[in-house]
Symmetry: C2
Subunit: 182 residues, 2 copies
């Protein structure tokens, strides 16, 4: 049997918390075998991510503090898709806020689910070229403490394999970008 | 300034929901610039993932229904680290439950944060070889509808680039495994 042929039946969905950027739901499901239980889910509007490439082939990343894990991670610039925004509009705003660069050429790399065990967030990944550094970049979110980091693709490759703290979305997006970086 | 030098101050942490596998917290933070706000966080015990490699070089994946996204995804076998388990013990249990294979040789590939914007989950990734198919595999979680899929590394590589639905942790772990698969 194909596992998708008999999805669980949703008996009840309760919105438990309405957050600033996403909501938290508790769902009561009835499984195909008749068992019932509760499964929690982050309902997320999606995230957009960019791999910016400078004229001399360097990648623009950000190092930022994440309170969830009490540490700094190396990530590609990214942000939550806001109401009335497309993922491309989101990331064209975020790249300027987070790095101070504007990009003229955009290419869609693909999309993937981030944490489907408990979240419906989709990450939309883009590649951006023809960067210019803005003289007066827009201010970012007040909660973000961000440092811009430039790395060559082979340096980032080594950093990931050497276990520098990099998050799953940045590694997955880098994988999608590799055929375009050589 | 290094972004980690002035972390936000935690003013209050409220446990909002105690789930079956993880908890949901709402935290009140004071930022270095004096602003205050609430940030939500999934508190997760961690996940363990395995890339099982058969004797003839095929990878063992699972296709499973995810109610969060109402669809089937291609993923590597994985599971939540339970109390008193190490990540290796978790995944040695899960590989048998999800695929019916037992592996004799285990190698740690590395670890990464899954969704640090709202979760502290760490994924611990392993490579497993010397597989034997169990005659009587243990029963898996009743909520899991799982189909085993065997693919060559180059087939999986193509499937990811062709945008077959694969999740971020599986793509990131595949990236960590690539140097060991050639």
């Amino acid at each position: 049997m194909h596992p998708g042929s008999t999805p669980p039946q949703l008996l009840q969905s309760r919105l438990f918390f309405r957050g600033r950027k996403f909501n938290y739901e508790v769902n009561r499901l009835k499984l195909p075998n008749g068992a019932e239980g509760e499964w929690e889910c982050v309902r997320h509007p999606g995230g957009a991510l960019v791999i910016p490439v400078t004229e001399d082939g360097q990648l623009v990343l950000v190092r930022q503090y994440r309170f969830t894990v009490k540490g700094c991670l190396l990530e590609f610039p990214a942000g939550t898709v806001e109401t009335f925004e497309s993922p491309l509009e989101t990331i064209q705003r975020e790249i300027e806020e987070e790095t101070g660069y504007r990009a003229a050429t955009w290419q869609k790399l693909g999309q993937f689910f981030l944490a489907p065990g408990y979240s419906d967030e989709i990450i939309y990944a883009f590649l951006a070229r023809d960067l210019v550094k803005l003289e007066n970049p827009p201010e970012g979110d007040e909660d973000e403490q961000i440092e811009t980091v430039l790395m060559r693709p082979e340096e980032l490759h080594k950093a990931i394999l050497d276990q520098e703290p990099v998050d799953a979305k940045s590694i997955a997006a880098f994988f999608l970008a590799l055929p375009h970086l050589s």
